[in-house]
């Protein structure tokens, strides 16, 4: 009983939960009064006919060879459907205004509040690993596995109470607002509710609502148990919270990625995200394939929830029982001495690098960032569009100074493209005026469509040609035709996602150089040593500079290598002004020299920024 009462000692928590309940009640009532109810998909009068149609369709399907294999899921599904719908064939439905009940069972605001309450309940019943509380409870007679089971039981009780207050409160409020009609509807068949017209469960509305509450209770309990268990497993509040977020994210991704018709659709429906975010499984009919047998979706969900809760109970019991003092920790006897030797030989600079990469787990950040850089690179580029292929072929042949042949090629192709475009424009006008038939128009349109790549290619290459002419006329520089896709990839603009993330990486690394001392409470000690002040700070700045410079060089190599791999770079000697973005460059240098300057400049900037931020963050070295 004390475990049950534990929540009651968190008065602020209870107040917060009650305010959430009131909030959702307000949202529900507001929606009921102000939102226009949707027209029911099928009026009550057509219900019987619809059910009959479904039954007839079932009979028809059973005669068709496609569904005739008695061992197949499809056959069994048809039979199951027929059997399920036969139960509501003779159900009579009076006409009634069921808008409130429809809203009650479909309202997702209550789901959101449920999630918040679940998190609160789980947090209330989690014990921190650190501190003396664990030692206290684990040394008590019933402080281990039994206590865990009690906590799960208590979570179940509180989940039920929360659901009762949430939905029960909403229902009572609604009944009060509707009046005696609402009470009458409770006794009517479930199919009276417009959302549930074709939900083949032959029960009354009140029985259905009990079932609905039961489902919501189990789902909330499932959520609470999962979060509670994650906190139990991980111990650390921040890490456990992160794990919860990751779990939901993973479940959301699975729910989105798996199709309704996929053979893996059990993962979609036996999914906590789905259970919490949707109510449709409680009013739309669907059978899932479970071991080649059709099972109603809601029962699959319920079974999955029970199974998960059972497993969590078992694992939490075992974990609780496992805290034994005779556990032996094994060192990695081969690796660790080497590691120890390496640590002893670190000088001040390498010690700072070690602190950043190993102690502060900077290597993980580096790996993640590198993975991102590779994903963004041209290595991931698989194939080109049609006009890109044309462009590359043109560059292979005519790269360099514009020649008579290259100009002629562009002119001829442009002429051809313009002729087709003109033909299409004229046909468009004539078709609009009824002067040509549909067949003729579509024939010209199809021809126009086939010239899509040529049009795109001509537009790009003409722009390049015009630019080169302008370059020659205004600046007296003989620009070359160079593969602009290739060089755009190499000389990527600084205002891009990649560089933005790189900037964040620099900031994090600089901050980590201070944080490592704060975490270790080392600053006062270091401050009292000969080299522990400016000298140390400069070493830190150097370490951060080295790491970020190294990262930049790797980024640069990946970028260059991927560009070479995809485009095969050439025309190094072309004037850098051959590329339009570099029109204003005042130096007479080649593309190669420009690339070197570009990268060198960015490298210098990287080091400058990283060193600057490191020295800036040293101001935050004290924890008080």
């Amino acid at each position: 009983m004390m475990e049950l009462r534990r929540l009651l000692y968190h008065k602020k928590t209870i107040v917060f939960i009650l305010s959430l309940v009131l909030l959702q009640l307000a949202m529900l009532s507001y929606g009921f009064y102000h939102e226009k109810p949707e027209e029911p998909a099928m009026p009550a009068s057509q219900h019987e006919k619809q059910v009959q149609d479904i039954m007839e369709e079932c009979n028809r399907y059973l005669g068709i060879s496609l569904f005739a294999d008695t061992d197949s899921f499809a056959y069994k599904n048809v039979r199951q459907t027929k059997e399920d719908y036969s139960r509501i064939l003779s159900v009579e439905q009076p006409d009634a205004d069921t808008a409130f009940f429809d809203r009650l069972i479909s309202f997702k605001g209550t789901n959101a509040v449920c999630i918040m309450i679940g998190i609160i309940l789980a947090l209330t019943y989690q014990d921190p690993e650190s501190g003396g509380l664990k030692a206290l409870t684990y040394s008590a007679k019933n402080g281990r596995g039994i206590r865990r089971l009690k906590q799960i039981f208590v979570l179940m009780i509180w989940s039920g109470i929360a659901v009762l207050i949430l939905y029960g409160g909403s229902l009572l409020t609604g009944l009060l607002l509707i009046g005696s009609d609402g009470w009458k509807i409770l006794g009517m068949p479930l199919q009276t509710l417009s959302l549930c017209r074709l939900f083949p469960i032959p029960v009354a509305v009140w029985e259905y609502l009990l079932l609905f509450l039961f489902f919501k209770w189990i789902i909330l309990f499932e959520l609470t148990a999962v979060i509670w268990f994650l906190f139990l497993l991980i111990g650390n509040l921040i890490l456990a919270s992160g794990a919860v977020v990751l779990l939901f994210l993973a479940e959301y991704i699975v729910w989105m990625a798996v199709g309704v018709t996929s053979s893996w659709n059990l993962l979609k429906y036996c999914n906590l995200w789905y259970h919490l975010s949707s109510n449709e499984y409680l009013y739309t009919y669907l059978n899932l394939n479970v071991g080649n047998h059709p099972v109603n979706r809601q029962w699959v969900i319920l079974a999955a929830a029970f199974l998960l809760i059972f497993l969590l109970a078992v694992f939490s019991y075992l974990k609780g029982e496992y805290a034994k003092g005779d556990r032996v920790k094994w060192e990695i006897s081969i690796v660790f001495p080497f590691w120890a030797r390496m640590q002893e030989r670190l000088n001040l600079l390498t010690a700072e690098i070690y602190k950043l990469l190993v102690i502060q787990k900077g290597c993980i950040l580096i790996l993640l960032f590198m993975a991102f850089v590779v994903m963004q690179s041209d290595f991931m580029h698989v194939s080109n569009t049609g006009y890109q292929e044309m462009y590359y072929t043109f560059m292979e042949q005519y790269q360099g100074l514009p020649t008579e042949e290259s100009e002629r090629y562009i002119r001829d192709l442009s002429k051809e493209v313009n002729a087709v475009t003109k033909e299409y424009d004229e046909a468009d006008q004539r078709y609009a005026g009824g002067e040509i038939s549909t067949d003729e128009y579509f024939s010209i349109l199809m021809k126009y469509d086939t010239f899509y790549n040529e049009r795109k290619f001509v537009s790009i290459v003409e722009q390049q040609r015009d630019y080169l002419l302008q370059l020659r006329d205004k600046k007296g520089i003989e620009g070359w035709y160079v593969n602009s896709f290739c060089y755009q990839s190499i000389l990527e603009p600084v205002l891009s996602l990649k560089y933005g993330l790189f900037m964040i990486f620099i900031l994090l690394t600089a901050f980590a150089s201070v944080k490592v001392e704060r975490d270790a409470s080392m600053f006062r000690v270091l401050n009292g040593t000969v080299l522990g002040r400016k000298h140390l700070f400069y070493k830190k700045a150097a370490a951060v500079g080295l790491i970020t410079a190294g990262m930049y060089l790797i980024m640069m190599i990946i970028g260059l290598a991927s560009a070479v791999h995809v485009y095969g770079i050439s025309a190094w000697n072309a004037p850098v002004q051959s590329l339009e973005p570099y029109y204003h460059v005042p130096l007479h240098i080649s593309l190669l020299q420009g690339i070197i300057l570009y990268y060198a400049g960015l490298l210098f900037l990287t080091i400058l920024i990283s060193v600057g931020f490191t020295l800036l963050f040293q101001r935050f070295r004290y924890d008080t």
């Binding site: 120890a340 270790a520 401050n527 009292g528 040593t529």
Partner: protein, 297 residues
Amino acid sequence: MTLKVRHLNKRYKTTTAISDVSFELTEGIYGFLGPNGAGKSTLINLITDNIRRDSGEILWDGQEICRLDKKYRDVIGYMPQYQGYYKGFTARAFLLYMAQMKGMKKKEAFERTDELLKTLNLWKVREKKAGSLSGGMRQRLMLAQALLNDPKLLILDEPTAGVDPQERIRIRNYISTIAKDKIILIATHIVSDVEAIANQIFLMGGGKVVEHCSPEALIAKVSPYTYMTTVKSATEIHGLEQMFIVSNIHNSEDGIQVKLIRKRSTDKEMDEAICHPVMANLEDVYLFYFSDRSDEV
């Protein structure tokens, strides 16, 4: 070698942490005793130049420590109140790292590290991660790093915090053995840390030095106020607390023996038939100065 502190002051917002503190230290062991919040750690931080002072001077061999800068830090060894270490470093690697921080040459660093590891009984765990050492071992590790550069001024802030009695005695004895030609400052609220080894005790309270002299002198001052009596029941003790500070209660066959310290506000002479005077110890001195005083000496 001298450490002079003159009219030192430090305030944190509305709180006076150090108020006009002045003293001079030469070779020897000095204990800074006082309750929590007395200003001991603030004083230490000022002496190690970890925080800025509001006013006053701290002179090492006649020169301001801020001006000496590295030269000053070359002669000090500091063991902080809160253990500072890198969890992932082994004990030896950590000491070698600190040796570099102290500007020691490699060969000297290796030799000194190994010597201290053996002396402080950490040799067997030299390759264990600092984070996995027991509390006592970590305290010894902190002490070892403070001693790496054989400092002239050794500052120990709560050196025996969280340590068992045996360990405490070991650390205390070790400090005694290395005290020659050094100024050792020990800030603590545990009387036994300094009782046996300190040359002088500084009693600190409310940011001020309330009293400072040798332990024997302090004891001699307080002894006239110290008595022993025997009562029949515990309720009688409550009556005694009006005039006395209860220093010790001991159950014996004859009754409950209670050691009392007369409050300074009480002038009344004691009836020797009921309470007979006894010798005070440093704990009694501590209680005399810091337990519930309403008047200044």
